[in-house]
Amino acid sequence: MAKYAPKLSELKKEFDEKPSVLKGDYAAQEWWDIPVEFHDGNWCFPGKPEVLEDLGFANPRKWTATDQDWQLPAGWQKTISDGLQSRLKKYRSLKLFLDTCVRCGACADKCHFFLGTGDPKNMPVVRAELLRSVYRNDFPLVEKILKGFSGSRKLTEAVIKEWHMYFHQCTECRRCSVFCPFGIDTAEITMMVRELLNLIGVNNNWILAPVSNCNRTGNHLGIEPHTFVQNITSLAEDIEDLTGVAIEPTFNRKGAEVLFITPSGDVFGDPGVYTMMGYLLLFHHIGLDYTISTYASEGGNFGMFTSNDMMKKLNAKMYHEAKRLGVKWILGGECGHMWRVVHQYMNTMNGPADFLEVPVSPITGTRFSNAAATKMVHIAEFTADLIHNKKLKLDPKRNDHLRTTFHDSCNIARGMGMFEEPRYVLRNVCNSFHEMPEDTIREKTFCCGSGSGLNAEEYMEIRMRGGFPRANAVKHVKDRHKVNTLVTICAIDRASLPPLMNYWNPGVSVYGLHELVGNALVMQGEKKRTTDLRENSMAGFEDGGDDEE
């Protein structure tokens, strides 16, 4: 981290010396005059040529953001302007969002990147103006006579560099769109600009490598089928060691009732694997007839951060596999952007899913009519329903060593609207839960700062700055309620929040919701439990002591 992020003391000093959310003095400057500077920690490594070739993407070459010459392909201006025109024709949203902004400034201090960097171009309104100023030609005649009236400018290489920087300092979290009186959604603009940038080979390897992996192996991490099986099997072995309960998940099994899909981070990454153990325990506990696919082995979808076509291509595997296996419906694990795709895009892109049935919980008989068309249920909805119907044997005391708070993931919050289910589950599996301040949770939640494919090591400065508002809200409950556990239902959060907490709030660990469920589940035939899934001692369950208080 050292190379790519400033020391904490330096950053704190910067915040304390200039206690204003906007950093710098711009009295005599306009935003379009401020130059773009790339330095260590504020740019992601570009897509490797072999990755681009594998995907058939434009302009594979070796380059870096700090290069003077970005080796843009011949005729790139036309590529961009044609690309913009065709997207304006296909998306009413884009056209409207470029046309209707009145620059009222309500969004200005809502962006986590703005709050963490104080950079004026990180105000959502200016981020959109980066594109708008090129798109706009309201009054070509007036503009000719009164130069500068409409604030438009020409598309130059400097603009492309600016786009690359600032559309990768947007995590498509949609917080600004909550506050906009017209609902202008910067995520929509960022998605379009990233599509445009990909047309001329201006990209990010941390996004494109997972896309290429996912296309080939079925998951972002590029895990091949045998390794995928091996990983989950070894998690099952860990479960047996810990609880004495033998669990045998099945893979690619035809005729299972439910296909379970979760982000591959849960299979491979720490602390996601503990969440995976939670799922496995839960499914065993209720005797769910499910299978896991090695082909559709990724819940997440980095295509979303690349282009809508790529999103569709990667997402298509879910229905394709569900159909092949003949399952009745799909159950999805904890993930943020995965659920934006599943909730708002999947059925439109790759449906209709006629070959599946309206999801019915085999344990409670609850019919998930809210998923009647897409036929995919979120694990938090599924578990909340189980708990509500008293089908789980839970001992929340097993989580007494954890004092929790809950981080709403952007996409779940603002692209799906699921707030109550995870809280209901959390309240039932642990005894200590404290909400962060009201303006930082639910629909006003702050992004982890690393969403939308910005979780790269070399991007650490921007990530630590972008995550500052979230970390600051966690600090509030840490100081006030001794919170030591940040619970989340997003795989990117599970990967990105640990370094953020280490940086800003050492002592706070990051957990998936179903890891806590796994801790609390009283399994049939289990041995005496003294540690949680991470093999940390549970308070009141120490060896030898029967007294639980």
Binding site: F15, D16, P19, V21, L22, E30, K89, K90, Y91, R92, S93, K95, L96, D99, T100, R103, G105, A106, A108, K110, L115, P120, M123, L146, G148, F149, V178, P181, F182, G183, P225, H226, V229, F251, Y295, N308, D309, K312, K313, H320, R324, T348, M349, S369, N370, A371, A372, A373, T374, A384, D385, G415, G417, E420, E421, D439, E443, P469, N472, A473
Partner: protein
């Protein structure tokens, strides 16, 4: 501040044009008949064209910004306004934006306190100022309908009465005149006062504010100070709404200034950010139901994408899959 001065000078010049034109060049037909008709036509046609231009573009995906609990399990209460599941709920959401500026009501202000602590406070000034601005202007416009009908319509009388309830001057003082001017002043000063707002503001943000301020000021001047003779004004307006091309009679020059500035506003409207008046109804993050898992949303241009099928995958990994005891389709 070129960004502020340029639109200010523009409005001043625009206000002088009819003054000079009518007073010294005898162009009352131009400013009283030709330009108003043109402006009306441009506003109407322009507004409709912009709306049609937006409407003919598809909405490929269902992308509401959900600001409240979705409709899911029966025992969980969902937020009908912020996460609408039915058409009328989404309609209510849009109307609450249009009439009450609901999203602006949420506005917070972020402040950096000592020891790098972020704090957020409720900040409703923009909401209040915006509401005062838009509602006063609406009432003022509706009040003006008394000039367009021989018989003053009932609602105009009611508005007139309500608006003038202070009854402190002669002619009766309208509260909305003061409110509109105060709100415009606030909206201009907030752009100048705050470093963030100064940066994001463009000349096109100041221009309509200055233009509206000038229109209201000239109106106030005519009503309370110069006490323009109303009858010829009403006669001329009646001629205009009856599509008469007759010569306007003798009317005070200030009226021409007022009418011309309104005409400029009308012509400017469809080509500028003022179109947010139409756009607010169409915003897909606000006017769609959050029911895309329940009901399939159809994309008219759904692209035909080739994806990597299971068969392709198995072909590449068959041996490895066999070794891992995974079931396979082909031996």
């Amino acid at each position: 501040m070129k960004k502020v001065l340029m639109p200010l000078v523009m409005v001043a010049v625009l206000a002088l044009l009819p003054f000079v034109g009518v007073q010294y060049a005898g162009l009352s037909y131009m400013f009283g008949v030709i330009i108003p008709y043109t402006a009306g036509a441009v506003l109407l046609a322009g507004f409709l064209l912009r709306l049609v231009d937006w409407l003919r573009r598809p909405v490929p995906f269902r992308i509401p910004t959900t600001c409240g609990q979705e409709k899911s399990l029966e025992w969980i209460k969902y937020n009908r306004l912020e996460s609408p599941a039915r058409f009328w709920e989404a309609a209510a959401r849009v109307l609450s934006e249009v009439f009450l500026f609901r999203s602006l009501f949420r506005n917070t202000k972020a402040e950096l306190h000592k020891e790098s602590n972020l704090a957020y406070g409720s900040h409703k000034w923009l909401w209040l100022g915006g509401l005062a601005f838009h509602w006063s202007l609406l009432i003022i416009v509706l009040r003006h309908s008394r000039f367009f009908f021989v018989m003053v319509p009932g609602f105009a009388d009611v508005l007139d009465h309500a608006d003038g309830f202070l009854d402190v001057t002669l002619p009766t003082f309208y509260i909305t005149d003061a409110l509109a001017l105060a709100a415009i002043t606030f909206l201009v000063f907030r752009r100048l006062n705050d470093a963030k707002m100064r940066l994001i503001s463009l000349p096109t943000d100041y221009f309509p504010l200055f233009l509206l301020a000038a229109i209201v000021l000239v109106g106030v001047l005519m009503r309370y100070v110069v006490r323009l003779d109303i009858m010829p004004v009403k006669d001329q307006m009646l001629r205009l709404v009856n599509f008469s091309f007759d010569d306007p009679g003798e009317i005070g020059t200030l009226f021409y200034v007022h009418l011309f500035l309104v005409s400029v506003l009308a012509m400017y409207f469809p080509f500028s950010k003022l179109m947010h008046a139409g756009g607010i109804f169409l915003s897909p993050t606000r006017n769609l139901c959050n029911n895309s898992r329940q009901k399939r949303h159809v994309n008219p241009w759904n692209s035909d994408i080739k994806f990597r099928t299971y068969a392709d995958y198995e072909d590449d990994y068959r041996e490895k899959m066999k070794k891992a005891n995974l079931p396979i389709e082909k031996q």
